[in-house]
């Protein structure tokens, strides 16, 4: 378990809903609802956080929700209890998943791989626990390839990294490097906010 990262997100749990619960969730609601509407089978949701995304899960699913921060999951408890389906919440590091190979049919992430310290290592773990042909669905913000956005996000990443997410990640490259095949990417804002649809090769 990466204790430094766990401490960072335990700390962030105190203000997470205040910061993200209103504007960001409302703005991204249609996109997230659309992405999560494809949930079926045995689903792993990585970085459940305080459970803000649960509002966009389709009802009746059986979902395993992970987060590195036990404090975040404590905050998520009322949302988990209110979900009309079954969510099993577990505190776990994505770099070290305690599941056998090929356990899940689908894996979902939401603004997760901007913060995972070793993104390719984490994604390799996801590929391991995903069944061959299984689906990886990600709602992520990344760095930009376009000036001036790229420059400003690059400049500020050393600061944002200390507080939470990095602003210059190349998540789609990391997804490929971890061995996934990208089916398509849907761009939501600039080339920064996007939905990534990938598959674990059979």
């Amino acid at each position: 378990m990466d204790l430094a990262t766990q401490r960072k997100w335990d700390q962030a749990s105190k203000t997470f809903d205040f910061m993200s619960g209103l504007g960001p969730e409302r703005r991204w609601a249609p996109q997230k609802r659309d992405l999560f509407s494809g949930m079926s089978g045995k689903v792993l949701f990585v970085a459940l956080g305080t459970g803000l995304d649960i509002a966009f899960f389709p009802p009746g699913q059986e979902i395993v929700g992970l987060d590195i921060s036990p404090r975040m999951l404590e905050c998520a408890a009322p949302r988990i209890a209110a979900y009309p389906g079954r969510i099993e919440a577990r505190a776990m590091d994505v770099h070290d998943l305690d599941y056998p190979d090929a356990t899940f049919d689908q894996i979902y992430t939401s603004c997760t791989f901007c913060s995972v310290p070793d993104p390719v290592g984490g994604l390799r773990q996801l590929r391991r626990v995903l069944k061959p042909g299984g689906k990886l669905r990600m709602f992520e913000h990344t760095g930009s390839r376009f000036f001036p956005f790229s420059t400003i996000m690059q400049m500020l990443t050393p600061l944002t990294r200390k507080l939470g997410p990095e602003m210059n990640r190349r998540t789609e490259d990391n997804v490929r490097a971890a061995g996934f095949e990208i089916e398509r990417i849907e761009y939501v804002y600039l080339d920064v906010v996007k939905k990534i649809y990938a598959t674990a090769p059979a």
Binding site: L22, G23, W28, F149, I152, M155, L159, L190, V192
Partner: protein
């Protein structure tokens, strides 16, 4: 209010607000005794840091995440560069600096939205091919 109008209003408010703050801060830091080569980077750094606080804690909370943070940062840097450089050359009243900051904020928002339209359309079109 529907979401489209709410977020448009939020984007306008957050960019104009960031521009006003960046204008005021830059005009307060620099006066005509400064060399512009020193004034501009100092103002840019100060205003980016300010934007990193004001953006997430004030505007992002109500109006969105990256859609707010990215144009706000760009507004802060641009306003700081323009107001900082001008304040090093001529006396710059605070009210005028704030007004110029607001205009720069709105111009940056328009630029960012246009870039969003171009980039998203081009990339989404390429994905569907």
């Amino acid at each position: 209010m529907n979401d489209r109008l709410y977020f448009l209003g939020g984007d306008i408010l957050s960019n104009a607000g960031t521009g006003v703050l960046a204008g005021l801060v830059s005009a307060a830091i620099v006066d005509t005794g400064w060399h512009a080569v020193l004034a501009v980077p100092l103002c840019v750094v100060a205003c980016l840091l300010l934007s990193m606080v004001v953006g997430p804690f004030v505007f992002m909370r109500y109006f969105g995440a990256m859609e707010v943070v990215v144009p706000n940062l760009l507004t802060a840097a641009t306003t700081a560069a323009v107001v900082g450089a001008r304040a090093a050359m001529v006396p710059y009243p605070a009210l005028q600096a704030a007004w110029h900051g607001a205009i720069i904020g709105l111009a940056v928002l328009a630029f960012t939205r246009y870039c969003d339209y171009l980039i998203r359309n081009a990339l989404n079109r390429a994905e569907t091919r």
